[in-house]
Subunit: 393 residues, 2 copies
């Protein structure tokens, strides 16, 4: 039996992404919360439950209890509260938790926050912390793998098996920078060419500097409500949660069956499609987890936007640009909008809500809506976690 209590997104907000040394973690959160309240026409007192996604508490920023500090700053004290961590998918995990609390009848209105401050510490220390987002005991500590190296293993395998080239990877970066320029919230605002990517510093071969997303500060806020509350509030354009699929992957990369795709993505997507009762062809617009360019190409395949091994063809043919078969990361993606770890999942849903409402028009980034269905794909670690969230207008 499935409990059919429907849940909708009724308010969204997103802070400016970038290097935000001008604010602390609570102030940064508020920058996303304020517009989400205005968007929903609600106030802090209306929120019964808050789930905050953040991964780096005590690591790349100092507050060990960011949820309580941010909640108090935003006037949310007395609401139920939890911090969710699923590495870089923390925002999506928080989304599922708040969704479930409403869907199970424990609350009528809940808030999902995602926030991360990654630029308070020096970059070498930050890199060490992020390197732990695998199997610290074996892979970081004993083999010295950093995070780009994890994905470089996948890039090399994908290139060897399917003939994907460094130019194909570069095209992903070029596309996502192109859209970031059209997104005032994005961290990186520079136009780049394939040659710029190919000539940038090698980080972990074949990945170069411009194949990697930046370390970004940022926050996003989403307000969710039950179907009854949506009716009662007479919400203009509620965006419904059609299905969530999640999966974990092995902590040990050595236990993976292959290195050309992420099993957790495939499983999470299958589960989400099944719950939503849709197939990939029906999706109008997607946000996928492009922490490195290879990750976006693997996502096309793992999510069923094309067959396995055909991901590079998608980007070469422009199928994931606006006007193509399925526009992907038209807000700039992690690659250029930026990747504040805990905020990313929420920021994806922020963008998709705007797209499904038709509110990306003024930015010149509006995709054409046919089925009014959108998909967010958020990875934690190197497929250690995956959340796929399907939304429907």
């Amino acid at each position: 039996m499935i409990c059919l209590r429907k849940v909708a997104i009724i308010g969204v907000g997103n802070s400016k992404f970038g290097i935000r040394n001008d604010v602390n973690v609570a102030e940064l959160t508020f920058e996303a919360v304020k517009p989400s309240f205005e968007d929903a026409g609600l106030a802090a007192k209306d929120i019964e439950f808050v789930a905050l996604g953040s991964a780096g508490a005590g690591a790349w920023y100092e507050e060990l209890l960011p949820a309580v500090v941010a909640a108090e700053y935003c006037g949310l004290t007395k609401a139920g509260l939890v911090r969710c961590e699923a590495a870089c998918a923390s925002g999506s995990a928080a989304f599922q938790t708040a969704y479930s609390v409403i869907a199970s009848g424990q609350a009528e209105i809940a808030m999902v926050l995602g926030v991360e401050k990654m630029r308070e510490i020096d970059s070498l220390t930050a890199m060490e912390w992020i390197g732990r987002a695998g199997y610290y005991f074996w892979e970081f500590h004993n083999f010295g793998l950093t995070f780009p190296a994890y994905y470089a293993l996948y890039a090399n395998a994908h290139m060897a098996k399917f003939g994907t080239t460094e130019e194909d990877l570069a095209l992903v970066a070029v596309k996502n920078h192109k859209y970031a320029i059209m997104n005032p919230l994005a961290h990186l605002q520079n136009k780049i060419t394939v040659d710029d990517v190919l000539n940038s510093m090698v980080i972990a071969s074949p990945l170069k500097l411009f194949d990697c997303c930046p370390m970004t500060d940022g926050a996003a806020s989403l307000i969710l409500a039950s179907e009854e509350k949506v009716k009662q509030l007479d919400v203009d354009t509620p965006i419904w949660v059609a299905g969530i699929g999640c999966s974990s992957g092995t902590a040990n990369l050595s236990k993976r069956p292959d290195y050309v795709g992420l099993e957790a993505s495939v499983l999470a997507a299958q589960r989400a499609y099944k719950t939503a009762g849709i197939s990939p062809e029906q999706i109008d617009v997607a946000e996928v987890h492009d922490c490195f360019t290879i990750a976006e190409i693997m996502a096309y395949e793992d999510l069923g936007f094309c067959s396995k091994g055909e991901g590079a063809k998608m980007i070469r043919e422009g199928q994931t640009e606006i006007g193509g078969k399925i526009p992907v990361n038209v807000d700039g993606g992690l690659k250029a909008k930026g990747h504040p770890i805990g905020a990313t999942g929420c920021s994806m849903i922020y963008e998709l809500t705007k797209q499904l409402r038709g509110e990306a028009v003024e930015k010149g980034r509006q995709v054409q809506l046919k089925n009014y269905i959108a998909l967010a794909h958020n990875i934690g670690g190197t497929g250690h976690y995956c959340y796929v969230t399907i939304l429907r207008r």
Copy 2:
């Protein structure tokens, strides 16, 4: 509208609590997972979703992604996965998340894990980390408050307002040590007297060493199932989740209305009682958050076991011992069973499940069951978070 999909606990496990330098975080988790599988008659493949409560990843133990590492070690890879953090209430937060995923129809069987390894690092560093579990920016960094000092503020206020004495606080420790001796899983196994407590080293006046819980390593595991699955599996004695209430409190202690109780406890309890449709008088046995002795006395009052200011009388009269009005922490509590932060909430529910099933008899700690209702009260920080969970046979 409340969605009435019922959820039950069908399997429980608890590791030995103590200084566990013999195991890593994954191995420690497995010590709780294995008996929970045996208890439920299930295997890893049956688990669709896992929520793990742990607060100190990257702080007092090194793995930054304990959920993926522990899940893989226990064979749970491919299940949906999230780590929940609510400071010392992380285990209860994970419980609510897994409960909600089942109650909303997203899974039939889920697992809740709580784990913490606190003894890998030196005690001064550990104390600094735990001191951050307030408002780090203001209270730890600028005023130098450590965690016992937060609770000492409350103890002093309670003594000043209600005449609670240091002997009353000591009686809580004496009671909880008494029961810990009867619990082979407990960390501290020594009998203590009121004089032992009064003569122990002052940590933060009026709290002395024996007023404080130890820093403990430990894990607990709970398997939850939907009502349909409980029927299908023909579970002997399912223990039903009757209601969960949660609340947050201000990060700033300076913003609290008073220092004689925790507002988050009062709110969470009210919400849990309302959902479960019960009153405090109906509770047969309770686990409350006694990180410091004063915390247990305040909990009696905040949970409505007595009126405000009457908590000390409860302990003086032995009303919270087995045979008294409402037995509390008869497994030794945080004070003597130990307080592995992320595991505590799950371990409370482990104990209550055993009690409600009547399985604490062989340990001599079985309480008399009248209404077959039990309550777990789990605080994060100094009332920054509170979760109250009501169970019913």
